[in-house]
Amino acid sequence: MAITSIKNLKEFSTNNDRFEGAHLLCPGCAHSMIVRELMNCTDDNLVIASNTGCLEVSTAVYPYTSWDTSWIHIGFENAATAASCAESMYKARKNKGTLKDPDAPVKFVAFGGDGSTYDIGFQWLSGAMERGHDFTYICLDNENYANTGGQRSSATPVGANTSTAQAGSHSYGKKQKKKDMVAIMAAHGAPYVAQLAPNKWKSMAKGFQKALETEGPCFINTVSACTTEWKFDPKDTINVTDLATDTLMFPIYEIIDGHELNILYRPKNILKVEDYLGAQGRYRHLFKPENKHVIERIQKDIDEKWEFLQRREEARI
């Protein structure tokens, strides 16, 4: 009963939304596509914690909430702690018999943007993963601090123009590589870790269901295309995400028990990264002749990562 049917979209669409409209996310924001899909892939009760960020600041501005489930926001960094200790309270109360409905199935979920996941909330997330609580952490990775106007985070990729890693006459934007959060979370020995994308709705829903059903701490990094800071037309959110997955800028894969890697999507035609970069304003400067080497570097990084993922998958270790 807990899991809802995702056999096809028609089946999936019979679910009743628990994430309501008239939230304040930008038109075309992928955050809400991802959140809706998470909430629609189960009919269990949910206790959701959110870090400060676009999602939080757009869905619970007094006197309105867009959440039809239990929801909590404390600060920028501590949603993983809030969710994991709410889960501890659930265990304690279940043990003591003080729950109103002790048999009601419940799942604990935390959402954070990449700023709160990769940077400021890194320690809190790591602590909660190590402690082994039964919860799922989902990073809505839009590769920048979008809520505060587009500053660089450690999830911002090489070459992106952000307000604190700007492209200019002396700079091509961010110089450092994106932190490999999926690997870091897998290294915690988490039973289920994945990177998913909303354009591949089925693999995303499957991954969400797997994480919710797996006992223990699970981590999912989702690519959340940001119309405002990536600078593309709001209508193109899914188109840009298609380019992200088909250029392998965002490979879709899972890691089970910290080691068993499965690639979940193999593009039939792998596109060149220029197709992805060219669709977004934040990379526009890379197409100047002097920045050609940056595009080459990005492509090389993608190719190497894809090679690595395939070999890891083949190795079955």
């Binding site: 409209g21 209508k235 899914i238």
Partner: protein
């Protein structure tokens, strides 16, 4: 095409503009800034359709963001194949689907992003963007013909 008020008395969709709610005094704000999403017992809310739920005024379901929109999607039932692409990718919970059928657009919550049109696979599309002022009937009467595949 909006189904506002389709079940009288229970569907509170889009009652107010955001910010138009009554500004009560310190003695009437909720303790601890909490917000309850529903009135009464909502234990089985996941199995209830929006129009069957007893939404609290605190639920953003009861607010509207229609004023954000400058262009709007118009839905053409005659062409739609009910694939539900628009439903799964709508970021504003504004595609109203019931029993595997696409019924229409929730114009109180739609912000006019146009994602639904982009992901619509029919030819011609079953959803197209029009100016906010355009009448839906007029838009439907001028629907484009099937396009030949571009090479």
């Amino acid at each position: 095409m909006s189904i506002t008020g389709s079940v009288p008395g229970t569907d509170k969709r889009g009652l107010r503009e955001l910010g138009a709610e009554e500004k009560v005094g310190w003695d009437e704000v909720t303790q601890g800034v909490t917000l309850n999403s529903f009135v009464g017992d909502a234990a089985d809310i996941v199995h209830k359709k929006a129009e069957e739920r007893n939404y609290n005024d605190f639920n953003s379901y009861t607010a509207t963001v229609a004023s954000w929109r400058i262009i709007k999607p118009v839905y053409n039932r005659d062409i739609c194949i009910d694939c539900q692409n628009c439903w799964v990718w709508c970021p504003d919970t504004s595609i109203i689907s019931r029993d595997k059928q696409m019924l229409g657009i929730d114009y109180d919550h739609c912000k006019g992003c146009g994602v639904c049109v982009e992901v619509c696979p029919t030819n011609p599309k079953s959803l197209l963007m029009f100016g906010e002022a355009e009448e839906n009937d007029k838009a439907l009467s001028a629907w484009p013909e099937k396009k030949k595949k571009e090479k």
